[in-house]
Assembly symmetry: D2
Homo-oligomer: 146 residues x 4
Protein backbone atom coordinates (compact mmCIF):
# COMPACT_ATOMS: atom_id res chain seq x y z
CA UNK A 1 0.00 0.00 0.00
CA UNK A 2 2.17 2.83 -1.25
CA UNK A 3 0.00 5.78 -0.12
CA UNK A 4 -0.87 6.83 3.42
CA UNK A 5 -4.09 8.84 3.54
CA UNK A 6 -3.95 12.02 5.63
CA UNK A 7 -7.60 11.50 6.56
CA UNK A 8 -8.12 8.19 8.45
CA UNK A 9 -11.84 8.51 7.67
CA UNK A 10 -11.25 8.60 3.91
CA UNK A 11 -13.45 5.59 3.10
CA UNK A 12 -16.54 7.17 4.60
CA UNK A 13 -15.70 10.51 2.96
CA UNK A 14 -15.39 8.88 -0.48
CA UNK A 15 -18.60 6.88 -0.01
CA UNK A 16 -20.57 9.96 1.10
CA UNK A 17 -19.34 11.93 -1.87
CA UNK A 18 -20.09 9.10 -4.33
CA UNK A 19 -23.65 8.97 -2.97
CA UNK A 20 -24.05 12.62 -3.99
CA UNK A 21 -22.99 12.03 -7.62
CA UNK A 22 -26.51 11.69 -8.97
CA UNK A 23 -25.32 10.45 -12.37
CA UNK A 24 -23.91 7.35 -10.65
CA UNK A 25 -27.38 6.47 -9.34
CA UNK A 26 -28.94 7.31 -12.70
CA UNK A 27 -26.51 4.89 -14.39
CA UNK A 28 -26.81 2.29 -11.64
CA UNK A 29 -23.08 2.31 -10.84
CA UNK A 30 -21.74 0.86 -7.60
CA UNK A 31 -18.66 1.83 -5.60
CA UNK A 32 -17.11 -1.57 -4.99
CA UNK A 33 -13.70 -0.83 -3.48
CA UNK A 34 -12.02 2.13 -1.73
CA UNK A 35 -8.36 1.91 -0.75
CA UNK A 36 -5.78 4.67 -0.23
CA UNK A 37 -5.19 5.98 -3.74
CA UNK A 38 -7.20 3.24 -5.47
CA UNK A 39 -10.93 3.01 -6.18
CA UNK A 40 -13.10 0.56 -8.15
CA UNK A 41 -16.54 1.28 -9.60
CA UNK A 42 -18.74 -1.27 -11.35
CA UNK A 43 -21.45 -0.53 -13.91
CA UNK A 44 -23.78 -3.35 -14.96
CA UNK A 45 -24.54 -3.20 -18.69
CA UNK A 46 -27.61 -1.18 -19.60
CA UNK A 47 -29.11 -1.01 -23.07
CA UNK A 48 -30.24 2.57 -22.51
CA UNK A 49 -26.60 3.74 -22.24
CA UNK A 50 -25.46 2.31 -25.57
CA UNK A 51 -24.24 3.73 -28.86
CA UNK A 52 -25.40 2.72 -32.33
CA UNK A 53 -23.93 -0.81 -32.24
CA UNK A 54 -25.37 -1.77 -28.86
CA UNK A 55 -22.13 -1.31 -26.87
CA UNK A 56 -21.79 1.04 -23.91
CA UNK A 57 -21.10 4.52 -25.32
CA UNK A 58 -17.44 5.55 -24.95
CA UNK A 59 -18.61 8.54 -22.93
CA UNK A 60 -20.37 6.29 -20.44
CA UNK A 61 -17.19 4.24 -19.98
CA UNK A 62 -15.31 7.52 -19.48
CA UNK A 63 -17.89 8.77 -16.96
CA UNK A 64 -17.39 5.72 -14.74
CA UNK A 65 -13.60 5.74 -15.14
CA UNK A 66 -13.38 9.48 -14.45
CA UNK A 67 -15.21 8.99 -11.16
CA UNK A 68 -12.93 6.07 -10.22
CA UNK A 69 -9.83 8.18 -10.88
CA UNK A 70 -11.32 11.22 -9.17
CA UNK A 71 -12.14 9.26 -6.02
CA UNK A 72 -8.70 7.65 -6.03
CA UNK A 73 -7.28 11.20 -5.88
CA UNK A 74 -9.92 12.29 -3.36
CA UNK A 75 -9.06 9.41 -1.01
CA UNK A 76 -5.64 10.99 -0.39
CA UNK A 77 -6.86 14.56 0.11
CA UNK A 78 -7.46 16.15 3.52
CA UNK A 79 -11.08 16.74 4.66
CA UNK A 80 -12.70 19.93 3.45
CA UNK A 81 -11.49 19.60 -0.11
CA UNK A 82 -13.35 19.09 -3.36
CA UNK A 83 -11.89 17.24 -6.34
CA UNK A 84 -12.39 18.31 -9.94
CA UNK A 85 -11.11 16.82 -13.19
CA UNK A 86 -8.70 19.14 -14.99
CA UNK A 87 -8.12 16.93 -18.02
CA UNK A 88 -8.99 13.38 -19.04
CA UNK A 89 -7.31 11.28 -21.73
CA UNK A 90 -8.70 7.94 -22.82
CA UNK A 91 -7.71 5.25 -25.27
CA UNK A 92 -10.63 3.04 -26.24
CA UNK A 93 -9.13 -0.40 -26.75
CA UNK A 94 -12.18 -2.45 -27.69
CA UNK A 95 -15.96 -2.04 -27.94
CA UNK A 96 -17.58 -2.09 -24.49
CA UNK A 97 -19.69 -5.23 -24.86
CA UNK A 98 -20.36 -7.60 -21.98
CA UNK A 99 -22.21 -7.94 -18.71
CA UNK A 100 -20.55 -5.25 -16.63
CA UNK A 101 -17.85 -2.59 -16.74
CA UNK A 102 -15.23 -2.70 -14.00
CA UNK A 103 -13.33 0.59 -13.70
CA UNK A 104 -10.22 0.89 -11.54
CA UNK A 105 -8.49 4.20 -10.84
CA UNK A 106 -5.09 4.58 -9.17
CA UNK A 107 -3.03 7.57 -8.09
CA UNK A 108 0.33 7.79 -9.84
CA UNK A 109 1.50 11.03 -8.23
CA UNK A 110 -0.19 13.13 -5.56
CA UNK A 111 1.16 16.67 -5.60
CA UNK A 112 0.22 19.64 -3.47
CA UNK A 113 -2.34 20.95 -5.94
CA UNK A 114 -2.56 18.39 -8.74
CA UNK A 115 -2.91 14.61 -8.64
CA UNK A 116 -2.20 12.42 -11.67
CA UNK A 117 -4.12 9.15 -11.96
CA UNK A 118 -4.11 6.10 -14.22
CA UNK A 119 -7.07 3.84 -14.82
CA UNK A 120 -8.27 0.76 -16.61
CA UNK A 121 -11.74 -0.23 -17.74
CA UNK A 122 -12.63 -3.89 -18.25
CA UNK A 123 -15.77 -5.52 -19.61
CA UNK A 124 -16.60 -8.77 -17.87
CA UNK A 125 -18.45 -11.54 -19.68
CA UNK A 126 -19.29 -15.14 -18.92
CA UNK A 127 -16.24 -16.29 -20.86
CA UNK A 128 -13.74 -13.86 -19.36
CA UNK A 129 -12.92 -10.20 -19.41
CA UNK A 130 -11.35 -7.74 -21.85
CA UNK A 131 -9.72 -4.36 -21.29
CA UNK A 132 -11.75 -1.73 -23.12
CA UNK A 133 -10.19 1.53 -21.93
CA UNK A 134 -6.98 3.07 -20.62
CA UNK A 135 -7.24 6.47 -18.94
CA UNK A 136 -4.82 9.06 -17.58
CA UNK A 137 -6.14 12.19 -15.89
CA UNK A 138 -5.17 15.20 -13.82
CA UNK A 139 -7.29 16.04 -10.78
CA UNK A 140 -7.21 19.26 -8.77
CA UNK A 141 -8.04 19.56 -5.07
CA UNK A 142 -9.73 22.78 -4.03
CA UNK A 143 -11.05 23.99 -0.67
CA UNK A 144 -14.71 22.94 -0.68
CA UNK A 145 -17.09 25.88 -0.63
CA UNK A 146 -20.09 23.85 0.40
CA UNK B 1 -17.16 24.94 -46.20
CA UNK B 2 -13.76 23.30 -46.44
CA UNK B 3 -14.91 19.65 -46.77
CA UNK B 4 -16.85 18.02 -49.59
CA UNK B 5 -18.72 14.94 -48.39
CA UNK B 6 -18.39 11.85 -50.60
CA UNK B 7 -21.95 10.89 -49.69
CA UNK B 8 -24.47 13.56 -50.78
CA UNK B 9 -26.98 11.94 -48.42
CA UNK B 10 -24.72 12.45 -45.38
CA UNK B 11 -27.26 14.46 -43.34
CA UNK B 12 -29.82 11.69 -43.40
CA UNK B 13 -27.13 9.09 -42.67
CA UNK B 14 -25.91 11.04 -39.61
CA UNK B 15 -29.45 11.63 -38.35
CA UNK B 16 -30.39 7.97 -38.71
CA UNK B 17 -27.28 6.88 -36.85
CA UNK B 18 -27.80 9.43 -34.07
CA UNK B 19 -31.34 8.10 -33.62
CA UNK B 20 -29.81 4.67 -32.89
CA UNK B 21 -27.51 5.97 -30.12
CA UNK B 22 -29.83 5.08 -27.25
CA UNK B 23 -27.78 7.01 -24.70
CA UNK B 24 -28.60 10.23 -26.57
CA UNK B 25 -32.32 9.61 -26.03
CA UNK B 26 -31.71 8.59 -22.42
CA UNK B 27 -29.88 11.88 -21.83
CA UNK B 28 -32.37 13.91 -23.87
CA UNK B 29 -29.74 15.20 -26.31
CA UNK B 30 -30.72 16.73 -29.63
CA UNK B 31 -28.81 16.79 -32.92
CA UNK B 32 -29.13 20.47 -33.85
CA UNK B 33 -26.81 20.91 -36.84
CA UNK B 34 -25.15 18.64 -39.43
CA UNK B 35 -22.76 20.11 -41.97
CA UNK B 36 -19.90 18.51 -43.88
CA UNK B 37 -17.29 17.85 -41.20
CA UNK B 38 -19.14 19.80 -38.48
CA UNK B 39 -21.88 18.68 -36.11
CA UNK B 40 -23.63 20.30 -33.13
CA UNK B 41 -25.46 18.48 -30.34
CA UNK B 42 -27.37 20.18 -27.52
CA UNK B 43 -28.08 18.71 -24.07
CA UNK B 44 -30.53 20.57 -21.80
CA UNK B 45 -29.34 20.50 -18.18
CA UNK B 46 -30.62 17.57 -16.15
CA UNK B 47 -30.15 17.19 -12.42
CA UNK B 48 -29.97 13.41 -12.72
CA UNK B 49 -26.75 13.66 -14.76
CA UNK B 50 -24.81 15.73 -12.23
CA UNK B 51 -21.76 15.19 -10.04
CA UNK B 52 -21.48 16.02 -6.34
CA UNK B 53 -21.66 19.83 -6.77
CA UNK B 54 -24.75 19.84 -8.97
CA UNK B 55 -22.90 20.45 -12.27
CA UNK B 56 -23.12 18.12 -15.25
CA UNK B 57 -20.62 15.31 -14.68
CA UNK B 58 -17.46 15.70 -16.81
CA UNK B 59 -18.21 12.30 -18.32
CA UNK B 60 -21.62 13.49 -19.48
CA UNK B 61 -20.06 16.51 -21.17
CA UNK B 62 -17.55 14.15 -22.81
CA UNK B 63 -20.32 11.79 -23.94
CA UNK B 64 -22.09 14.56 -25.83
CA UNK B 65 -18.86 16.02 -27.23
CA UNK B 66 -17.60 12.59 -28.30
CA UNK B 67 -20.78 12.04 -30.31
CA UNK B 68 -20.47 15.49 -31.91
CA UNK B 69 -16.89 14.77 -32.97
CA UNK B 70 -17.74 11.24 -34.08
CA UNK B 71 -20.59 12.43 -36.29
CA UNK B 72 -18.43 15.22 -37.72
CA UNK B 73 -16.04 12.47 -38.85
CA UNK B 74 -18.91 10.21 -39.96
CA UNK B 75 -20.39 12.98 -42.13
CA UNK B 76 -17.34 12.75 -44.42
CA UNK B 77 -17.20 8.96 -44.64
CA UNK B 78 -18.68 6.94 -47.50
CA UNK B 79 -21.87 4.93 -46.92
CA UNK B 80 -21.44 1.48 -45.41
CA UNK B 81 -18.92 2.60 -42.79
CA UNK B 82 -19.12 2.67 -39.02
CA UNK B 83 -17.25 5.21 -36.90
CA UNK B 84 -15.58 4.37 -33.59
CA UNK B 85 -13.61 6.55 -31.18
CA UNK B 86 -9.97 5.49 -30.94
CA UNK B 87 -8.94 8.03 -28.33
CA UNK B 88 -10.49 11.08 -26.68
CA UNK B 89 -8.66 13.92 -24.91
CA UNK B 90 -10.53 16.57 -22.97
CA UNK B 91 -9.61 19.67 -21.02
CA UNK B 92 -12.32 20.70 -18.58
CA UNK B 93 -12.16 24.49 -18.50
CA UNK B 94 -14.95 25.32 -16.05
CA UNK B 95 -17.71 23.54 -14.13
CA UNK B 96 -20.65 22.65 -16.42
CA UNK B 97 -23.35 24.78 -14.81
CA UNK B 98 -26.10 26.44 -16.80
CA UNK B 99 -29.23 25.73 -18.79
CA UNK B 100 -27.85 23.68 -21.64
CA UNK B 101 -24.65 22.25 -23.06
CA UNK B 102 -23.86 23.07 -26.67
CA UNK B 103 -21.25 20.72 -28.13
CA UNK B 104 -19.64 21.40 -31.51
CA UNK B 105 -17.33 18.94 -33.25
CA UNK B 106 -15.24 19.70 -36.34
CA UNK B 107 -12.96 17.60 -38.52
CA UNK B 108 -9.36 18.83 -38.58
CA UNK B 109 -7.97 16.12 -40.84
CA UNK B 110 -9.79 13.31 -42.61
CA UNK B 111 -7.34 10.57 -43.55
CA UNK B 112 -7.96 7.27 -45.29
CA UNK B 113 -8.40 5.34 -42.04
CA UNK B 114 -8.24 7.88 -39.22
CA UNK B 115 -9.98 11.21 -38.79
CA UNK B 116 -8.82 13.80 -36.23
CA UNK B 117 -11.45 16.11 -34.77
CA UNK B 118 -11.53 19.15 -32.50
CA UNK B 119 -14.48 20.19 -30.38
CA UNK B 120 -15.77 22.74 -27.95
CA UNK B 121 -18.39 22.47 -25.25
CA UNK B 122 -20.25 25.56 -24.03
CA UNK B 123 -22.74 26.02 -21.20
CA UNK B 124 -25.45 28.53 -22.04
CA UNK B 125 -27.13 30.56 -19.31
CA UNK B 126 -29.50 33.50 -19.24
CA UNK B 127 -26.59 35.87 -18.84
CA UNK B 128 -24.37 34.44 -21.55
CA UNK B 129 -22.30 31.37 -22.24
CA UNK B 130 -19.00 29.94 -21.07
CA UNK B 131 -16.68 27.38 -22.66
CA UNK B 132 -16.46 24.37 -20.36
CA UNK B 133 -14.54 21.84 -22.45
CA UNK B 134 -12.00 21.50 -25.25
CA UNK B 135 -11.70 18.09 -26.93
CA UNK B 136 -9.43 16.48 -29.49
CA UNK B 137 -10.10 12.94 -30.66
CA UNK B 138 -9.17 10.32 -33.23
CA UNK B 139 -11.96 8.47 -34.99
CA UNK B 140 -11.63 5.32 -37.12
CA UNK B 141 -13.88 4.39 -40.01
CA UNK B 142 -14.51 0.68 -40.47
CA UNK B 143 -16.69 -1.23 -42.92
CA UNK B 144 -20.01 -1.63 -41.12
CA UNK B 145 -20.83 -5.25 -40.38
CA UNK B 146 -24.48 -4.60 -39.73
CA UNK C 1 -6.87 40.78 -29.33
CA UNK C 2 -8.92 38.91 -26.76
CA UNK C 3 -6.36 38.91 -23.93
CA UNK C 4 -4.92 41.87 -22.03
CA UNK C 5 -1.53 41.05 -20.52
CA UNK C 6 -1.08 42.09 -16.89
CA UNK C 7 2.59 42.78 -17.61
CA UNK C 8 3.03 45.49 -20.26
CA UNK C 9 6.62 44.31 -20.67
CA UNK C 10 5.54 40.78 -21.59
CA UNK C 11 7.32 40.68 -24.97
CA UNK C 12 10.73 41.32 -23.45
CA UNK C 13 10.00 38.85 -20.64
CA UNK C 14 9.07 36.09 -23.13
CA UNK C 15 12.11 36.82 -25.31
CA UNK C 16 14.49 36.77 -22.34
CA UNK C 17 13.07 33.47 -21.16
CA UNK C 18 13.21 31.92 -24.64
CA UNK C 19 16.89 32.91 -24.86
CA UNK C 20 17.50 30.79 -21.74
CA UNK C 21 15.92 27.63 -23.21
CA UNK C 22 19.17 26.09 -24.38
CA UNK C 23 17.43 23.37 -26.38
CA UNK C 24 15.95 26.07 -28.64
CA UNK C 25 19.46 27.22 -29.55
CA UNK C 26 20.63 23.62 -29.94
CA UNK C 27 17.78 22.99 -32.39
CA UNK C 28 18.18 26.36 -34.12
CA UNK C 29 14.63 27.49 -33.35
CA UNK C 30 13.60 31.12 -33.62
CA UNK C 31 10.93 33.04 -31.71
CA UNK C 32 9.14 34.80 -34.56
CA UNK C 33 6.05 36.34 -32.96
CA UNK C 34 4.91 37.28 -29.43
CA UNK C 35 1.41 38.64 -28.87
CA UNK C 36 -0.79 38.56 -25.77
CA UNK C 37 -1.72 34.89 -25.46
CA UNK C 38 -0.24 33.88 -28.81
CA UNK C 39 3.33 32.90 -29.74
CA UNK C 40 4.97 31.55 -32.89
CA UNK C 41 8.23 29.62 -33.09
CA UNK C 42 9.92 28.49 -36.32
CA UNK C 43 12.32 25.58 -36.70
CA UNK C 44 14.19 25.21 -40.00
CA UNK C 45 14.45 21.53 -41.03
CA UNK C 46 17.55 19.77 -39.79
CA UNK C 47 18.58 16.27 -40.83
CA UNK C 48 20.13 15.60 -37.42
CA UNK C 49 16.70 15.88 -35.74
CA UNK C 50 14.98 13.26 -37.89
CA UNK C 51 13.47 9.84 -37.31
CA UNK C 52 14.05 6.74 -39.42
CA UNK C 53 12.26 8.04 -42.56
CA UNK C 54 14.04 11.38 -42.69
CA UNK C 55 11.17 13.45 -41.25
CA UNK C 56 11.46 15.59 -38.13
CA UNK C 57 10.94 13.28 -35.14
CA UNK C 58 7.49 13.69 -33.57
CA UNK C 59 9.20 14.58 -30.30
CA UNK C 60 11.06 17.45 -31.98
CA UNK C 61 7.78 18.82 -33.35
CA UNK C 62 6.32 18.49 -29.86
CA UNK C 63 9.32 20.24 -28.29
CA UNK C 64 8.83 23.32 -30.47
CA UNK C 65 5.05 23.32 -30.06
CA UNK C 66 5.28 22.87 -26.30
CA UNK C 67 7.47 25.95 -26.07
CA UNK C 68 5.07 27.95 -28.25
CA UNK C 69 2.12 27.00 -26.02
CA UNK C 70 4.11 27.56 -22.85
CA UNK C 71 5.16 31.05 -23.92
CA UNK C 72 1.61 31.87 -24.99
CA UNK C 73 0.58 31.10 -21.39
CA UNK C 74 3.63 32.89 -19.99
CA UNK C 75 2.82 36.08 -21.94
CA UNK C 76 -0.32 36.52 -19.81
CA UNK C 77 1.30 35.80 -16.44
CA UNK C 78 2.51 38.49 -14.05
CA UNK C 79 6.27 39.06 -13.63
CA UNK C 80 8.03 36.80 -11.16
CA UNK C 81 6.33 33.63 -12.34
CA UNK C 82 7.68 30.52 -14.00
CA UNK C 83 5.66 28.39 -16.41
CA UNK C 84 5.79 24.60 -16.48
CA UNK C 85 3.94 22.09 -18.66
CA UNK C 86 1.56 19.92 -16.64
CA UNK C 87 0.36 17.77 -19.53
CA UNK C 88 0.72 17.77 -23.31
CA UNK C 89 -1.51 16.03 -25.84
CA UNK C 90 -0.61 15.85 -29.51
CA UNK C 91 -2.19 14.44 -32.63
CA UNK C 92 0.35 13.88 -35.40
CA UNK C 93 -1.55 14.58 -38.60
CA UNK C 94 1.12 14.00 -41.24
CA UNK C 95 4.86 13.26 -41.42
CA UNK C 96 6.92 16.40 -40.70
CA UNK C 97 8.63 16.80 -44.06
CA UNK C 98 9.44 20.16 -45.59
CA UNK C 99 11.67 23.18 -45.21
CA UNK C 100 10.58 24.50 -41.83
CA UNK C 101 8.19 23.88 -38.99
CA UNK C 102 5.96 26.77 -37.97
CA UNK C 103 4.45 26.26 -34.50
CA UNK C 104 1.71 28.53 -33.19
CA UNK C 105 0.41 28.37 -29.61
CA UNK C 106 -2.67 30.17 -28.31
CA UNK C 107 -4.26 30.50 -24.89
CA UNK C 108 -7.80 29.11 -24.72
CA UNK C 109 -8.41 29.78 -21.04
CA UNK C 110 -6.16 31.52 -18.51
CA UNK C 111 -7.15 30.56 -14.98
CA UNK C 112 -5.66 31.61 -11.67
CA UNK C 113 -3.33 28.60 -11.50
CA UNK C 114 -3.75 26.69 -14.75
CA UNK C 115 -3.75 27.89 -18.35
CA UNK C 116 -5.08 25.74 -21.19
CA UNK C 117 -3.55 26.24 -24.64
CA UNK C 118 -4.17 25.02 -28.18
CA UNK C 119 -1.56 24.84 -30.90
CA UNK C 120 -0.92 23.94 -34.49
CA UNK C 121 2.26 22.82 -36.23
CA UNK C 122 2.69 23.36 -39.96
CA UNK C 123 5.46 22.24 -42.31
CA UNK C 124 6.19 24.78 -45.01
CA UNK C 125 7.49 23.71 -48.40
CA UNK C 126 8.06 25.41 -51.71
CA UNK C 127 4.67 24.22 -52.93
CA UNK C 128 2.66 25.18 -49.88
CA UNK C 129 2.20 24.12 -46.30
CA UNK C 130 0.57 21.21 -44.47
CA UNK C 131 -0.62 20.90 -40.89
CA UNK C 132 1.39 18.16 -39.18
CA UNK C 133 0.35 18.47 -35.54
CA UNK C 134 -2.50 19.58 -33.27
CA UNK C 135 -1.68 20.12 -29.59
CA UNK C 136 -3.61 20.87 -26.42
CA UNK C 137 -1.80 21.40 -23.15
CA UNK C 138 -2.16 22.56 -19.57
CA UNK C 139 0.40 24.99 -18.19
CA UNK C 140 0.94 25.94 -14.56
CA UNK C 141 2.27 29.27 -13.32
CA UNK C 142 4.40 29.13 -10.20
CA UNK C 143 6.26 31.83 -8.28
CA UNK C 144 9.74 31.79 -9.78
CA UNK C 145 12.38 30.72 -7.26
CA UNK C 146 15.27 32.01 -9.31
CA UNK D 1 6.21 -12.43 -21.30
CA UNK D 2 2.68 -11.69 -22.44
CA UNK D 3 3.41 -11.00 -26.12
CA UNK D 4 4.79 -13.38 -28.73
CA UNK D 5 6.50 -11.50 -31.56
CA UNK D 6 5.57 -12.64 -35.07
CA UNK D 7 9.10 -11.82 -36.20
CA UNK D 8 11.71 -13.93 -34.32
CA UNK D 9 14.34 -11.45 -35.52
CA UNK D 10 12.58 -8.49 -33.87
CA UNK D 11 15.54 -7.42 -31.72
CA UNK D 12 17.80 -6.89 -34.70
CA UNK D 13 14.99 -5.15 -36.59
CA UNK D 14 14.39 -2.71 -33.70
CA UNK D 15 18.12 -2.05 -33.26
CA UNK D 16 18.63 -1.39 -36.98
CA UNK D 17 15.71 1.01 -37.03
CA UNK D 18 16.86 2.84 -33.89
CA UNK D 19 20.28 3.31 -35.50
CA UNK D 20 18.53 5.19 -38.33
CA UNK D 21 16.76 7.66 -35.99
CA UNK D 22 19.34 10.41 -36.33
CA UNK D 23 17.85 12.46 -33.51
CA UNK D 24 18.72 9.64 -31.08
CA UNK D 25 22.41 9.96 -32.03
CA UNK D 26 22.19 13.75 -31.88
CA UNK D 27 20.80 13.51 -28.34
CA UNK D 28 23.17 10.71 -27.32
CA UNK D 29 20.38 8.27 -26.45
CA UNK D 30 21.04 4.56 -26.08
CA UNK D 31 18.73 1.61 -26.71
CA UNK D 32 19.28 -0.41 -23.54
CA UNK D 33 16.62 -3.14 -23.66
CA UNK D 34 14.43 -4.74 -26.33
CA UNK D 35 11.88 -7.36 -25.35
CA UNK D 36 8.62 -8.41 -27.04
CA UNK D 37 6.38 -5.41 -26.54
CA UNK D 38 8.74 -3.60 -24.16
CA UNK D 39 11.66 -1.28 -24.91
CA UNK D 40 13.94 0.87 -22.74
CA UNK D 41 15.94 3.88 -23.92
CA UNK D 42 18.38 5.86 -21.76
CA UNK D 43 19.39 9.50 -22.23
CA UNK D 44 22.30 10.87 -20.18
CA UNK D 45 21.60 14.44 -19.04
CA UNK D 46 22.84 17.11 -21.42
CA UNK D 47 22.84 20.81 -20.65
CA UNK D 48 22.25 21.68 -24.29
CA UNK D 49 18.83 19.98 -24.21
CA UNK D 50 17.47 21.96 -21.25
CA UNK D 51 14.70 24.50 -20.73
CA UNK D 52 14.99 27.78 -18.84
CA UNK D 53 15.49 26.22 -15.38
CA UNK D 54 18.23 23.82 -16.42
CA UNK D 55 16.04 20.69 -16.53
CA UNK D 56 15.62 18.53 -19.63
CA UNK D 57 12.96 20.17 -21.80
CA UNK D 58 9.60 18.36 -21.61
CA UNK D 59 9.79 17.85 -25.37
CA UNK D 60 13.12 16.06 -25.03
CA UNK D 61 11.65 13.72 -22.43
CA UNK D 62 8.73 13.12 -24.80
CA UNK D 63 11.06 12.48 -27.75
CA UNK D 64 12.84 9.67 -25.89
CA UNK D 65 9.61 8.22 -24.48
CA UNK D 66 7.88 8.37 -27.86
CA UNK D 67 10.69 6.31 -29.39
CA UNK D 68 10.52 3.80 -26.54
CA UNK D 69 6.77 3.36 -27.04
CA UNK D 70 7.11 3.28 -30.82
CA UNK D 71 9.74 0.55 -30.71
CA UNK D 72 7.69 -1.43 -28.18
CA UNK D 73 4.91 -1.44 -30.80
CA UNK D 74 7.36 -2.09 -33.63
CA UNK D 75 8.81 -5.14 -31.84
CA UNK D 76 5.48 -6.94 -32.29
CA UNK D 77 4.94 -5.99 -35.94
CA UNK D 78 5.78 -8.26 -38.87
CA UNK D 79 8.82 -7.41 -41.04
CA UNK D 80 8.24 -4.89 -43.81
CA UNK D 81 6.24 -2.50 -41.69
CA UNK D 82 6.95 1.04 -40.54
CA UNK D 83 5.66 2.46 -37.29
CA UNK D 84 4.37 6.01 -36.91
CA UNK D 85 2.97 7.85 -33.87
CA UNK D 86 -0.70 8.76 -34.34
CA UNK D 87 -1.11 10.58 -31.03
CA UNK D 88 0.94 11.08 -27.88
CA UNK D 89 -0.34 12.09 -24.43
CA UNK D 90 2.03 12.94 -21.62
CA UNK D 91 1.69 13.96 -17.99
CA UNK D 92 4.80 15.69 -16.69
CA UNK D 93 5.02 14.64 -13.04
CA UNK D 94 8.18 16.44 -11.93
CA UNK D 95 10.98 18.53 -13.44
CA UNK D 96 13.48 16.33 -15.33
CA UNK D 97 16.57 16.94 -13.21
CA UNK D 98 19.18 14.29 -12.57
CA UNK D 99 21.93 12.29 -14.23
CA UNK D 100 19.97 10.35 -16.81
CA UNK D 101 16.50 9.75 -18.14
CA UNK D 102 15.31 6.14 -18.29
CA UNK D 103 12.30 5.72 -20.59
CA UNK D 104 10.33 2.48 -20.69
CA UNK D 105 7.57 1.80 -23.22
CA UNK D 106 5.18 -1.15 -23.11
CA UNK D 107 2.42 -2.38 -25.42
CA UNK D 108 -1.00 -2.43 -23.77
CA UNK D 109 -2.96 -3.64 -26.80
CA UNK D 110 -1.69 -4.63 -30.23
CA UNK D 111 -4.49 -4.45 -32.77
CA UNK D 112 -4.45 -5.19 -36.47
CA UNK D 113 -3.77 -1.56 -37.44
CA UNK D 114 -3.30 0.36 -34.21
CA UNK D 115 -1.18 -0.39 -31.15
CA UNK D 116 -1.73 1.37 -27.81
CA UNK D 117 1.29 1.80 -25.54
CA UNK D 118 1.99 3.03 -22.02
CA UNK D 119 5.28 4.43 -20.83
CA UNK D 120 7.12 5.85 -17.88
CA UNK D 121 10.06 8.23 -17.72
CA UNK D 122 12.35 8.26 -14.68
CA UNK D 123 15.25 10.56 -13.80
CA UNK D 124 18.02 8.74 -12.01
CA UNK D 125 20.24 10.55 -9.53
CA UNK D 126 22.90 9.51 -7.03
CA UNK D 127 20.30 9.46 -4.27
CA UNK D 128 17.61 7.53 -6.12
CA UNK D 129 15.19 8.00 -8.95
CA UNK D 130 11.94 9.88 -9.53
CA UNK D 131 9.20 9.38 -12.10
CA UNK D 132 9.00 12.49 -14.27
CA UNK D 133 6.58 11.46 -17.01
CA UNK D 134 3.66 9.16 -17.79
CA UNK D 135 2.80 8.61 -21.46
CA UNK D 136 0.06 6.89 -23.42
CA UNK D 137 0.19 6.78 -27.20
CA UNK D 138 -1.33 5.21 -30.29
CA UNK D 139 1.01 3.82 -32.94
CA UNK D 140 0.08 2.78 -36.48
CA UNK D 141 1.82 0.09 -38.50
CA UNK D 142 2.02 0.72 -42.22
CA UNK D 143 3.63 -1.24 -45.05
CA UNK D 144 7.12 0.25 -45.35
CA UNK D 145 7.66 1.99 -48.66
CA UNK D 146 11.41 2.07 -48.35
Amino acid sequence: MPFTPVDPDFVRRVRDNFARQRVMQTFGAELTRVEPGEVEIVLPFRADLTQQHGFLHAGVVITILDSALGYAAYSLMPPGHAVLSVEIKTNLLAPARGDRLVAVGRVVRAGRTLTVCLGEGWMEREDGREQVALMTATMIGLPDRE
